[in-house]
């Protein structure tokens, strides 16, 4: 099946890996876990570059934020206490719902993002966590907000660079997060994913509202207009419905074998509402307990 592959390279440094990529556009393909490559590698691919030995499998706490190496597996994210304790554990939640245990033992966070599937499970939680990706070129590296990384279905704004790290900034106090996912069965590609983040200001008004949706547009996306509906407001039932309606308008879902566009739109509306409601509920619970710092790992 992969008789067109002429060479398998296993570099030990990022520089080596980038060198192997450059000058071989279309011919060279990166392999981290391999779970997407095996399904999608075209017959034009001649060289596989295995990046699993570059020392990029790590989860570190730095300055209150998280630094996650690109080849960290879903299983590692799911099990990591650090990840579970960050942002109400939505990244761990998303990692745990990404395919079967077998897939999660191989699939990596970098692969999930770099593959740029509109349904990438890691994307929506990271978007509301305002994550950044570190792209390493031959000489320089740059940091890009995740929202600016995706260019289209299976296309990114990296330019002969290697995605080496995902940085999750420290979240502000009094913020709550939620992740919702809808699929046909338990082990399935997502039909819709929604992540939300809301902070309460001193008057319990929504601030820093972030809503992200997946599988409903060419790229995982932020629903900025829906966010604006809530921003600065105290979220009541009616407003949350309005925000959800707005999110449903903002997206551009397609009809495919899994669901119709109309259905995706409807599910996006429902999940957005539920995600926002969950954030508010968490904030309310938290507020009624004590005004201390949050560290819930609830899923």
């Amino acid at each position: 099946m992969f008789d067109h592959i002429r060479s398998f390279r296993q570099p030990f440094t990022t520089t080596e890996a980038i060198k192997l990529l450059q000058g071989r556009e279309g011919e060279a393909c990166l392999v981290a876990g391999g779970t997407d490559v095996v399904l999608r590698a075209s017959r034009s691919v001649k060289v596989l570059v295995d990046i699993s030995r570059l020392g990029l499998s790590y989860i570190k706490r730095k300055g209150g934020g998280l630094h996650i190496g690109a080849t960290t597996t879903m299983a590692a994210l799911e099990e990591s206490v650090l990840v579970r304790l960050t942002a109400d554990g939505i990244l761990a939640h998303a990692a745990a719902s990404c395919g079967s245990p077998q897939t999660r033992n191989m699939a990596t966070i970098g692969g999930n993002l770099a593959n740029a599937s509109p349904a990438a499970d890691m994307a929506t939680p990271l978007l509301v966590m305002e994550a950044e990706v570190v792209l390493q070129g031959l000489r320089i590296s740059r940091t890009l907000p995740l929202e600016g990384y995706f260019a289209g279905p299976h296309s990114t704004n990296s330019n002969r660079e290697l995605l080496v790290e995902v940085i999750v900034p420290r979240s502000k106090p009094n913020a709550a997060f939620s992740f919702k996912r809808f699929a046909r069965t338990e082990i399935d590609i997502a039909l819709v994913t929604v992540a939300a983040a809301i902070r309460w200001d001193a008057k319990q008004r929504c601030a820093d509202v972030r809503i992200a949706l997946g599988a409903v547009a060419p790229c995982p996306m932020r629903a900025h207009r829906a966010e604006a509906v809530l921003e600065g407001q105290s979220a009541d039932h009616k407003l949350i419905w309005q925000a959800a309606d707005m999110a449903a308008q903002e997206i551009a879902p397609i009809t495919d074998v899994r669901a119709s566009a109309e259905y995706r739109r409807e599910i996006a509306r429902v999940l957005t509402r539920r995600a926002v409601e969950e954030c508010i509920q968490r904030l309310t619970q938290e507020g009624s307990l004590h005004a201390g710092s949050r560290n819930g790992g609830a899923r």
Binding site: F2, L48, Q102, T103, E186, I187, R258
Partner: protein
């Protein structure tokens, strides 16, 4: 054959493939592999002889190829072998020690979690790794851990239980079984469970053959086309290609691929290769080459010029569409010019009169869809010529003897020149009651004189194999005001796809096995089965009944509501009972006039009672919970019956030979496809011969060494093959006692066989071993007998299915919470295996109801040909399952047994639909009930409600 030419070709073929050296540790042994850079770990492991690593889908969905990488389960089909450099791999061969199974494997065996065994190695490895990290695992955790190991046989209940038992080191308390027999009625361990749990090479593809070629079939890209020109020169010239066959190269013999007794009731409308293609996936040409890559490349090099014809995709317009079978030599087609494969028209009494006499007449239309068997082991066949130049066919089939007859006819060989071997089979469910690869694979072997293997990929399985017939059912029932059914009428339009395999018989069952469940003086069944340019339908567990019961049991539920009667009560009033004669079956035989069915045993009343109690029916029916929020709950139920073999058609035989130590060789033609037939047959032999099961060596499914058997279908094996085994065993016992009588000087009628002994009236006994040795060496007699068996009736098993569902009314998602199946299968020969049959059928039934559907685009091409988008349920999707076996005593079955393999698939769809009505007040008459469809219906209902409200204002 041009041998010299071949050798030259082989030399040219050595294209310089860069090789890579990879050092890995496999099962604690260091290995150095020479691999190609693009080799997948799965392929390398199998090439290196780790046959316990199974190929099920190649898209990372099924988990059959699971291995442990540094202790963690991964799919070896999703990993390049080169990635494994320096890492530690554990395959199933590495579990356990010194030929002993690991604890997990032992528990899987003990709990009856091993059915076909194809998914078992992957499951065992996943469980092994999981238990290391989760020693106190809970049920949801185990279901989650197993969610990447799809299984199509067990419904996951027993695997999950086995793993929980391992975690909690539960003492096996034994099962609560009432035993009237020594062996029958006991959960005897499946005879092949150990080798399957150990992942030993037992399946068709688990052998290596020097010089084997890989066969590949070029599939039609068009739904309907004539091959105007086909040029294979480039393909033939490709180094490593040994044969390319088109319709020009093979004999043209009309036949059916349906594995049925001769003369088959299915039309002879199929050809080994033809100059016309009739569905996307139809055979165009076949290639045999030295590797899969070369074979695939050769397919790309075949140049075909098609005259594309208008395609008939919608069965409702088939009669007026382009003629699909315009070839003059096909036979048995009812009306080829109108694409009608078969028609059925039967009537008892007069339904018209009945409807006039009815106080309530109700008529509804139902629609069912294409479902595929999705057995974990795809179709695979290996053929070769033995040293006598006989064609040997090693194949994953349910019908070795039919395959022998069909291939002999198609390839024009004398029957005795064909030898079919059925090894262990990775699931069939009717999909392998079909001769799909054996003919073309054999043709390639004859053309090359080399062993040839053809194995469908999962995608090819979806495109090219069989599926359940889609139907449009119009059902009309007439009731007296007290609820008595007066008339029952069913009108069916069914699509058989491009070929008529099983067309009249599957649909015949939709009438004959469904309508008679309820007594009605007037019944009418009309059916038209049409050809379309779509994937071919065939036999599938339930065989026409799941469609029919979806209609009938939904309709009965609706009537109960209209009459204000409890749905259980309405059914009880009308159900067929012991002593009744089902006259409709007499009219709907298998392609000929059938036989009236006398009900000699019937436990449906008990099934309803016990099932209702297990679900908490009365309580849940009255008090609906969770009416606030977005979740709604409901309960529903359905009844059904099936058959046990085809009356007057199915037959089987058995030969039993006594060994010198008192053990026996049991030879049967029956085909164990993973459900446990070998075990059940060995139990029947052991019971009859008064020996322990370990004294029976069973040999099955090899046409050279076994006597005839029609094969594994129509729920026939226990009753028909079991009947033959019992008869043969009785004859052996009689001969043995006769001879022993002279030896021990006790009259034969005072002797009996039990506990591996010959016993004289309970006072004196001799071990069977000493008698057998004496008979062998002193008397010089081989004790051996054979017997044949068939029934002139097909005793129905009965079933009541209860479902509790929860619906998310904002998304339409339906979750089945609890599914109870109570089955009367006569005497249960092996409770554990019987439960396994029920649980597996239920899982397929829930999939049929909710998630599984083959989708075609406007060109007739399947658009979801993978487990990524054809959704079968995983362990995590399963509801709580309760299985209740209600015993009756069937006079026609061995030790009172009836069938169990199919019946439980009939209930889930109507029971879930009825539960959805209870939850939502909405009737679903089209399958599958996908979340999207459910939500649409909810919205429509809300809209109507709003409109009604507006009007009332």
């Amino acid at each position: 054959m041009k041998k010299a030419g071949r050798t030259k070709k082989a030399k040219e073929e050595s294209v310089p493939t860069p090789k890579l050296q990879v050092c890995v540790t496999v099962n604690n042994e260091s290995r150095e592999w020479q691999i190609a850079p693009g080799d997948l770990l799965l392929d390398v492991l199998r090439r290196e002889g780790y046959y316990g690593v199974k190929r099920g889908c190649e898209t990372g969905e099924c988990g059959a190829c699971t291995v442990l990488l540094d202790g963690k389960p991964i799919n070896s089909c999703m990993m390049f072998a080169a990635q494994a450099q320096g890492r530690k791999i554990t395959t199933i061969e590495g579990l356990g020690a010194n030929g002993k199974l690991s604890t997990v494997q032992q528990e899987l065996v003990k709990h009856g979690a091993v059915q076909c065994g194809f998914c078992t190695p992957g499951m065992a490895l996943t469980a092994e790794a999981f238990l290391v990290e989760n020693p106190d695992a809970t049920h949801p955790q185990v279901a989650e851990a197993l969610s990447g190991n799809l299984c199509r046989c067990t419904g996951y209940k027993k695997p999950v239980e086995a793993i929980l038992a391992t975690a909690h080191r539960q003492q096996d308390h034994g099962r609560c079984e009432a035993h009237t027999h020594a062996v029958v009625g006991h959960s005897v361990q499946k005879v092949d469970a150990v080798k399957l749990a150990a992942g030993r090479p037992a399946f068709t593809d688990d052998i290596s053959m020097p010089g084997i070629l890989i066969g590949k079939i070029l599939a039609s890209p068009y739904a309907h086309a004539r091959i105007k020109k086909i040029d294979v020169l480039k393909a033939k010239a490709l180094p490593g290609v040994h044969a390319v066959l088109t319709y020009k190269d093979v004999p043209r013999v009309p036949h059916t691929t349906a594995g049925q007794g001769w003369p088959e009731p299915s039309p002879y409308d199929t050809y080994l290769l033809d100059n016309k293609v009739r569905f996307v996936g139809d055979r165009v040409a076949a290639v045999a080459a030295e590797s899969r890559a070369i074979a695939e490349e050769a397919l790309r090099l075949i140049e075909v010029e098609y005259e594309v014809l208008p395609a008939v995709l919608d069965m409702e317009y088939a009669r007026s569409g382009a003629v699909i079978h315009d070839e003059p030599d096909s036979t048995g087609i009812h009306d080829p010019l109108h694409n009608v494969a078969a028609e059925i028209h039967q009537q008892l009494g007069s339904v018209e009169q009945g409807f006039r006499e009815s106080g309530l007449v109700i008529e509804r239309e139902f629609r069912t869809h294409r479902q595929q068997h999705a057995m974990l082991e795809p179709h695979v066949t290996i053929t070769w010529l033995d040293s006598d130049d006989r064609l040997v066919i090693r194949s994953s089939t349910q019908i070795p003897f039919h395959v022998r007859r069909q291939v002999a006819m198609i390839l024009q060989l004398p029957l005795q020149r064909v030898h079919v071997i059925k090894p262990r089979i990775g699931g069939g469910f009717g999909g392998k009651q079909e001769m799909l690869l054996e003919d073309i694979c054999g043709a390639l072997t004859l053309a090359t004189r080399r062993p040839v293997k053809i194995e469908y990929t999962r995608k090819e399985e979806f495109y090219m194999a069989r599926s359940r017939h889609p139907q449009v059912l119009r059902m009309k029932m007439g009731f007296k005001n007290d609820g008595t059914i007066v008339a029952n009428q069913l009108d069916v339009l069914a699509g058989t796809g491009a070929y008529g395999s099983h067309s009249s018989t599957v649909q015949g069952n939709t009438g004959s096995k469904v309508l008679p469940l309820y007594r009605a003086p007037n019944m009418k069944f009309d059916c038209e089965i049409v050809y379309t340019n779509t994937p071919v339908a065939g036999a599938f567990r339930g065989y026409g009944c799941p469609q029919g019961y979806f209609a009938q049991e939904s309709l009965i539920d609706e009537v109960a509501e209209q009459l204000g009667v409890d749905p259980l009560e309405l059914r009880r009033m009308n159900l067929i009972r012991e002593g009744d004669t089902d006259e409709l079956s007499a009219q709907l035989g298998e392609g000929r006039k059938g036989l009236a069915r006398l009900i000699r045993s019937c436990g449906i009343e008990k099934c309803i009672g016990q099932g209702a109690a297990a679900l908490g029916w009365d309580e849940k029916r009255k008090n609906k919970k969770n009416e606030d929020g977005y979740l709604r709950r409901g309960v529903g139920m359905a009844c059904s019956m099936q058959g046990s073999g085809i009356a007057g058609v199915d037959w089987a035989s058995a030969v039993i030979v006594l060994n010198e130590n008192g053990s026996y060789q049991l030879h049967v033609g029956a085909a164990d496809v993973g459900a446990g037939a070998d075990t059940v047959l060995a139990q029947i032999a052991a019971e009859t011969l008064g020996v322990t099961p370990d004294m029976i060596n069973i040999f099955s499914g090899d046409t050279d060494t076994a006597p005839f058997d029609v094969g594994a279908y129509a729920s026939s094996t226990t009753i028909i093959s079991g009947g033959a085994v019992k008869k043969a065993a009785e004859k052996v016992r009689a001969s043995l006692l006769q001879i022993a009588s002279a030896i021990v000087n006790v009259p034969a009628d005072k002797l009996s066989c039990r506990d591996n002994k010959i016993v004289a009236d309970g006072v004196q006994s001799w071990t069977l071993a000493e008698i057998a040795r004496r008979i062998t060496y002193k008397e010089k007699i081989q004790v051996m007998e054979g017997a044949s068996h068939f029934n002139m009736d097909s005793p129905p098993p009965f079933c009541a299915t209860f479902a509790e569902v929860e619906v998310d009314i904002e998304t339409g998602k339906v979750r089945v919470l609890h599914l109870v199946t109570a089955v009367d299968c006569g005497t249960v020969i092996n409770p554990q295996l019987a439960e396994g049959q029920v649980e597996g059928a239920v899982a397929q039934g829930i999939g049929f109801a909710l998630t599984e559907e083959m989708l075609l685009d406007e060109h007739g091409r399947m658009i979801n040909p993978s487990f990524l988008d054809y959704k079968i349920l995983s362990a995590k999707d399963m509801p709580k399952l309760t299985t209740i076996l209600v015993e009756t005593n069937e006079p026609l079955g061995p030790y009172g047994a009836k069938s169990i393999g199919e019946i439980a698939i009939n209930g889930p769809a109507p029971a879930i639909a009825n539960a959805l009505y209870h939850a939502l007040g909405i009737r679903f008459r089209k399958l599958p009930m996908r979340a999207e469809d459910v939500l649409r219906a909810i919205h429509e209902k809300e809209k109507t409600a709003v409109q009604v409200a507006v009007v009332t204002h």
